[in-house]
Amino acid sequence: MTCLYTFNILSLSDLQFHCKSEIRVTLYLLKSLMNRILIFLFCMILSGQCFSQEITDYWSLPYNPPKQVVIDKSKVEVIYEHLAIDPVLDTFDPDNCLILQTGDFYSKFWEYEYFRSDSALAAYGHEKLDRRMAHNIHKQYEHSHRYGYPKFIIKDYKENKIKEKYYVSGFYVFSEDTPTISWELTEEMDSICGYPCIKAHADFCGRKWDAWFTNDIPLSDGPFRFQGLPGLILKMESEDKEHRLTAISIRNGHNDIYEEKTDDYKTTRERCRKLYENFQLNPAGTIDISNIKQADGSDPRSHMQTRLFYNPIELE
């Protein structure tokens, strides 16, 4: 079980930034003699790398985050709380916060905790940190990976494109034209965060949505891929009540909007959706752990939860 844990923790939280450590993890996992020979050959090829690994402690290496490219400056920042229910597992996702940073030409929608830990790391100065310190700062913000939802959504209003980045033991990115959502305005009004809001309705990717937008903030933007209303969306609710997004904080923006340059796999929305569905519905199936046995001889996969939380925003 320890092996499995190590694998999970490393692969799911840190590995994306530190490809080198994959070697260490692999070393740890493959224990049979046959594999050792293979590793030996593998090591021969990558001997230079391996030697440097042996003498340096991984955690004391300098913190080397992906490069951040500033694309815009945020004008308005909205923090949304997202409540989601998985009707099959019959559980709800603990309330998560997401931030929308919207500027003149770009907007970025991502996890608020991630935004906070990134800001904290930037405040310390990346060059002053080693990996252990960076990891501890990440941990302070209870930074948890939310599977089943994109890591970043960047809306490019110049080119009218939307770029989404997902993570399943690697970054998957796709870009497509901003979808046109045919909103139906109603005369219903409500107050959200003290802003008068008008209710609108739309069918989007297999769900019926109600959105509340405000005239007082003339920015046509919203959470996830939603936009196209004559004001900022402050609340969204799916008709089946499986998703609810509510603004909990609205502020004047002053932060840079940046894009992280990671090694991405280019893909399409359909393939990305399928990849995710596979992973969430059968997480054990995506990892090759056939060489690992439990202490009592059983297959570790039998102890793994068969299905993870899965209820995407878009059903089609």
Binding site: L83, D90, L229, T246
Partner: protein, 869 residues
Amino acid sequence: MRFLLLFIFLCALQGQVQAQQNVTGKVTDAQGAPLPRAVLKAYSLTSATKIIAYALTDSKGDYELKLPQGTTQANVNCSYMGFESQTVKIAIGTRKDFRLKESNQQLKEVVVKAPSMRSHGDTLTYNVAQFKSGADRTLLDVIKKLPGITVETTGTIRYQNEPINKFYIEDMDMLGGRYNLATNNINPDDIASINVYENHQAQKVLKDFVMSDKAALNIKLKANRKSIPLGNLMLGAGWGDHMNYMAELFSMLIAANRQQITTAKTNDFGKSYALEMTDYLQENAGIKTMVSSAFGTESAGTADVPENRFNDNHSYAFSNNALYRISNDDQLRVNLSYMQQRSHFEQNSQIHYNGMSSLEHREDNHRKGTQHQVGITGQYERNAQSVYLRNQFQLKADLLRNEQQLETNNGNVNQHQRMDSYGLTNTLNLTTRRGNHMFQFYSLVSLSNSPKGFMEAEMEGANPLLQNMKGANFYTREQTSFTRVLNTYWHTGVQMRLEANYDWVKTNLDEYQPQLNAENQVQGYKADLRMAPFLEYKSGNRLEATLTVPVYYKAQRYTDKIEHLTFADNRPYLEANVDVSYKPAAGSSLNIMAGLSQTYGDMKSFIKNPVFLSYRMQQIWGSGKLSEGKMFMISPRYSYRNALLGNFLSISGQYIHGKNNLMTVSDVDASKESSTLVARDNTSNQWTGRLSASKKLMDLGMTLKLDGSSTYLMSNMMRQQMAYQTRNMIYSVRGEIINDYFQNKLHSDLAVTYTGRALKMTTNTLENKQTIENWTGSMRVSYTPTDALEFYANAYMYWTGQEKGAFKRANYLDGGIRWKRKNVEWELALKNLTDSRTYETHTYVGTDAYRYIYHLRPLEGLLSVKFKL
């Protein structure tokens, strides 16, 4: 025909196209640069709110508004973030360009989820900075203000109406149940946040496996307050009836692998340290001999006014608590405590005994009590993912002396009471989990002894009384359980428990009273074997249901050494319990517990001769017949919280229906009050309801709290050979408003409590109904013009009355000034500014009406200086 259809279709299309009349144009800034993503909205002329069409500008700043059919004119609004918006009336089909002026107007910033509270799954975090004010001295002052949390006057901390089950400092349990040692002393400035862990399961092994409906509290220190010694030393001198003193030392060190709290305190300013020394979790119930709690430690009766108003005291307390983290999972804990409390109370009491011939008894009581309490606890705990192991060793000593001079309607009495008790407890707890199997073992061994206890009374015109009582107890509980996970939803298993109790009691009245046969010497054991198979259903985090059907086998054997009688009883019996928890949505939960159970008496049923607890209170604990009963209980509970909006609500109820084969007989005459038990069927019904709601108004920074409770008890008793049905009802409502005004310079806390008590006694021929109403109000106002200075005033009112409008009123006022400079804090506290010297209260105890008059401490002042580390 086809062409005709096509023609018609094209005509129709034509109409549509024509109906879509457009407004086009360009949006630029004052310099003429295009503004992309500007918002254009068209409103109908008749309504200022109905949007009939809207559009956004493209990257060149161009827009095209498509208006619906039939519109000839519309009000078009053009807006862009950071620019002034414009609205103009436009005729359809025209072109309109907008040139917008930049504005400096900033967005109205809102934070609904103020950083004051955050929830993340089952963890709720209160940001202390958002709740703290300059008027708060201790962490408890802040905890009292938190919505969702109630602190009772007895010191118990409740979250959503349920007492908390653990108290952590930085996720380490140093104090066990004596959490007020931390909350009463820690400076709130050192604390960053307070967490509530809902459904807290302390054992990591049982996480996600055995749910708990109780919550734990965790306090987190500010990063720069960790690993350094914190604390304060306070010295004070004052005057009142005589010179007063107060000296208190508190020190604390919270580091990653070590925690320590030391206190040493003394005062004669009315302050009791009992709150800090009480174990509120009572994992193992301490001293258990049958005579150890025969005498009270406090004043007679319960008062609404706090004890520090009438307690003429000398109090000393010392405690040392240390926790060492040996490894990530292993901890070692040692707690030492000593408390000495010398109290002097002056009281008048008057008891009105209800019944066929109502009697009254009066006494003036001068009471000097001394209590010594010593406690030593050592604990090793290993809390790992796969195993939980804990061994706790506890030693306790409790020495009590009371000296009373009483003036009664029957003459003067000198009365002494003494009780010495010692207890030793060892608890071992082991839980292991391997795959789908779980094994639990719990063992508790406790030895208690009360080697010396007596009550001695010298009465005018009567023989003196000397009642001796001694007791010893050995108690052990061994418990083990096996659980098997059937699948994701179903668990099953069995719990086995063996409880064994050996008791020994000896009481005798001294030879001064030879006419009374009043010697008891009874000893014996009770063993109780419980096998409880259970079935548990768990669906995600939402629904959980458990059915337990315990089978018991009880064996008891008691011997009366005086009468050479032996009583033995062996029997099996069955009980049933259902527990269902359901979470309808995030933050809300519903829980229903119901059970059928049997109750059997213990050795007390065979202590048949009277025991004098005071010069006039004579009790016969048993009738020589084992008490037997059946009980049905159901208790639903609903709680809801939304940290986002600051709303907390909890409603709970309980209904208990009981049947017993014994009935209490209370007989009263001019010289004594006796209670005994007779064999007679007795049915009782009890309804209890509790409500607790609180709201934090985020924009105003105001906290509102409302608590209500009611109890209705219907039972039967006998007095003077007459059976009565008695109904007791207590209902109380408390409302509290906490607010800060003028940029947090003025703080106020206003609370009002109403308590009503009703008593009804009925026989076939007679009905007696009485009510007492109490109003209690308190107002605390504190003004902090600068961070260094505080002026405060506390006003209290206590009104009590038996008839509507005829209230006995008592009002008190306290006040003071506090001045801080660097690490030194000076304070002048004035108590009882109105110099009220008496306080009267009325209450019901069972069927009888009690009236107490307390003699209060005078107007007094204390000048103190506090050095902070």
